[in-house]
């Protein structure tokens, strides 16, 4: 079925069960309600990280995802607050807008490789932050606050998407929403990587010259991939804006861009689900170390260094010594 074997299907089943039933159950039993937000964040950041991972897949180090997350957050906020759109429509619009920006910026900069591409995307993050500070439509330094919660959508009287305003607690709703979007993102990513497009990406990652000599239009595929990557970034950013009900120029900045990249490294560049695991460990790990107070950062960074020292190819390289994405 769909080319999955039984083992994979079981794995997916367990995973689905875990995030949709296991986690809420565990939280209910332990009473750690605060983990909902942390895990929601993990899901959203994992969406953006998936985009970064995809650009790694064509051999580009992307430190610009913060820029697209910020663009997504602002587009959604502006559409909801100033234009009056429903959040649910603004969400894909935010992703698409980020993708369009990525296409325009990608045309000139995707020719760059290695550290040069990394650097130019890092600068891009700063450019977008500074632009948000300078533009009137983003409200400059004052940001956009008091963004309403997502309202419901119904078609012919049947509610399709729930109304968050009417809810007692939005935690669970946001958690499920974020998880569903994350699952869709990773399903799409998995499909893409294992389809012909993914194979072409791999050929480009390994040798762009040879790829173009076998007739691959490398600049076109680079743009497509960068646009998809930024679409994911825009989605994640827009969702965050909705949870925080506010967006500021500093909502996503260079540190976020760097973190998105680190999530990919930590999980493992060779594994589709690497960025998801990397995000979980990096983000959730910080929260778990909360009790250490002023030593939190020290312990966090020490663990990070130890992991990379002994598992330089990412966490997932423990289990699958080769080719986990196949």
């Amino acid at each position: 079925m769909l080319g999955f074997n039984l083992k994979q299907l079981t794995g997916v089943g367990i995973f689905l069960f875990m995030i949709f039933i296991g986690v809420p159950f565990a939280i209910g039993v332990t009473g750690r309600w605060d983990f909902y937000f942390t895990l929601t964040s993990v899901a959203l950041l994992a969406i953006a990280s998936a985009g970064v991972w995809l650009t790694f897949y064509i051999g580009r180090i992307n430190i610009g995802q913060g820029a697209f997350a910020l663009i997504g957050a602002y587009v959604s906020a502006i559409l909801v607050v100033k234009v009056g759109w429903s959040f649910w429509i603004s969400l894909p619009a935010a992703g698409l807008f980020a993708a369009v920006v990525a296409i325009l910026i990608g045309l000139p900069i995707l020719r760059l490789r290695g550290v040069y591409f990394a650097m130019i995307t890092l600068v891009l993050t700063q450019v977008v932050t500074l632009t948000a500070l300078a533009l009137p439509i983003t409200n400059g330094a004052r940001g956009i606050s008091n963004i309403p919660l997502p309202s419901g959508i119904s078609l012919f009287g049947i509610p399709i998407l729930p109304d968050f305003v009417a809810m007692e607690s939005t935690k669970l709703a946001f958690y499920y929403t974020a998880c569903i979007i994350m699952l869709l993102t990773y399903a799409a990513l998995y499909r893409l990587v294992n389809s012909r497009l993914g194979h072409l990406c791999r050929s480009m990652q390994q040798n762009e010259e040879l790829a173009s000599s076998i007739g691959v239009n490398i600049s076109y595929i680079r743009i497509v991939i960068f646009a998809i990557s930024s679409f994911f970034g825009g989605l994640g950013g827009a969702m965050f804006g909705s949870i925080a009900q506010s967006v500021y120029p500093s909502s996503f900045q260079v540190a976020d861009s760097v973190n998105f990249m680190l999530n990919c490294f930590l999980g493992g560049l060779g594994y589709v689900f690497g960025p998801m695991l990397g995000t979980l460990v990096l983000y959730f790990g910080w929260d778990l170390l909360f009790e250490f107070g002023k030593y939190q950062m020290l312990i966090y960074s020490t663990i990070l260094i130890i992991i990379i020292r002994f598992l330089p190819n990412g966490l997932l390289s423990i289990r699958f010594s080769k080719g986990g994405d196949k």
């Binding site: 937000f37 330094a141 939005t170 965050f240 949870i243 925080a244 500021y248 500093s250 909502s251 002994f310």
Partner: protein
């Protein structure tokens, strides 16, 4: 294989320690007060001075037998969360506070964090005391945020008025870091100065927070020859460098800011060039500091090795929370009761000489009492320490 076992062992050990660390302190009932702010990274100074002043005060209370509210004596425990100046983390921090059953939180330190935690705070019944100035945080329908200090749009006019009257200042130039908080404060300052009839000769110049040389930044400002140079929302790290560059460029006028500064940092970074620099402080200048303030400074210094004058303004939030809870003990778990009593609450200000009062204000700025009334103490730096220039009240 061996490697994996090792890692597993290490992770287990860490998790165990993390779980144990929460076990309680002493025989008194524990009252937890939260702090969500930035205590690592570039802006660590803001949050750390905040957190330390709370911890110094809490340990002082606990050492002297605890704090009695409605017949029960509590030990105060400060639960701190480092949000790394990231609004996403700040939300997680506020969630963590809710998880710990905390209803009173000091922080966050910056505008975006304060705005981001609002939904969580309101949903979970948490009163929080941000050090952020956007009015929308404190105006209805927002209900749970209480401004923990004097806002720049309140202190600015008082300082400008004083300087106009006493020093004959007529023209003013503003300079701010290119970040949300300072830019907002600059805009507020420009508005206030214009309203007072001052001529704003330069207000567009900004600098990146990572600037290491302010001479090129300040040169065009100096060319506009203002009587007063306002460093809007300046961080303690940048203030001495800005002062030094301005003076070295030959600036003769007055330099002021509306944020709190540390005398030691100014002395090290700008030396005598900082003489005459006007900033906003708490009440630790010798003329105003009560014996309790002096003891607080002493205890803080003993605990952390060095005092930070920024903490003067940050000691109040905790005191307000505790005093207000004392006024209505039911507020310990009931934020509505807290909000109800805020309107009438009044208690003596223990940190200041004279008959200053702790009470909530903000009617004229926010339309509801959502600000602590701390004395607006305007300091002037002179030879390594602050002297009180004048004291005003905010309504």
């Amino acid at each position: 294989m061996q490697r994996r076992t090792l890692m597993k062992a290490a992770l287990t050990a860490i998790t165990m320690t993390a779980l144990q660390a929460t076990t309680a302190l002493a025989e008194n009932t524990v009252l937890k007060i939260g702090f969500v702010g930035v205590t690592s990274g570039p802006a660590a100074a803001w949050g750390i001075s905040n957190q330390r002043s709370m911890e110094a005060r809490a340990s002082w209370i606990n050492e002297t037998g605890g704090y009695t509210i409605g017949g029960t004596t509590y030990d105060i425990e400060i639960v701190s969360f480092d949000d790394q100046k990231d609004p996403k983390r700040a939300i997680a921090g506020m969630e963590k506070m809710a998880q710990e059953g905390i209803h009173y939180v000091v922080g966050p330190n910056v505008d975006d964090g304060a705005a981001a935690v609002r939904p969580v705070a309101e949903a979970n019944g948490i009163m929080y005391f941000p050090y952020a100035f956007p009015k929308s945080l404190y105006q209805a329908p927002a209900s749970n945020a209480v401004l923990g200090m004097v806002a720049n749009y309140q202190s600015g006019p008082a300082i400008y008025k004083y300087l106009m009257d006493e020093k004959g200042v007529k023209t003013v130039a503003f300079i701010a870091a290119n970040e949300s908080d300072p830019l907002s404060q600059r805009d507020g300052g420009v508005e206030a100065a214009t309203a007072l009839g001052m001529e704003v000769v330069s207000a567009n110049v900004t600098y990146q927070v990572d600037t290491t040389d302010f001479t090129p930044v300040l040169t065009p400002v100096m060319r506009s020859r203002p009587d007063l140079l306002v460093l809007s929302g300046v961080s303690p790290a940048n203030a001495p460098q800005l002062i030094r560059s301005a003076r070295e460029l030959g600036f003769q006028g007055v330099i002021s800011t509306e944020t709190a500064q540390d005398a030691g940092v100014l002395a090290e970074g700008a030396g005598d060039l900082a003489n005459g620099f006007i900033s906003v402080g708490g009440a630790s200048t010798p003329e105003l500091a009560s014996p309790m303030m002096n003891e607080f400074v002493q205890r803080y210094t003993d605990m952390f090795g060095e005092y930070n004058d920024e903490s003067n303004t940050k000691v109040y939030a905790l005191e307000y929370i505790l005093e207000t809870l004392k006024a209505d003990p039911s507020a310990i778990t009931d934020v509505d009761a807290f909000q109800a009593i805020m309107d009438t609450f009044e208690a003596p200000n223990p940190y200041m000489n004279g008959d200053a009062k702790l009470r909530y204000v903000g009617m004229s700025s926010f339309g509801q009492k959502r600000q602590v009334s701390v004395p607006l103490v305007v300091n002037v730096y002179q030879d390594g320490e602050f002297k009180t220039l004048f004291v005003a009240e905010v309504d």
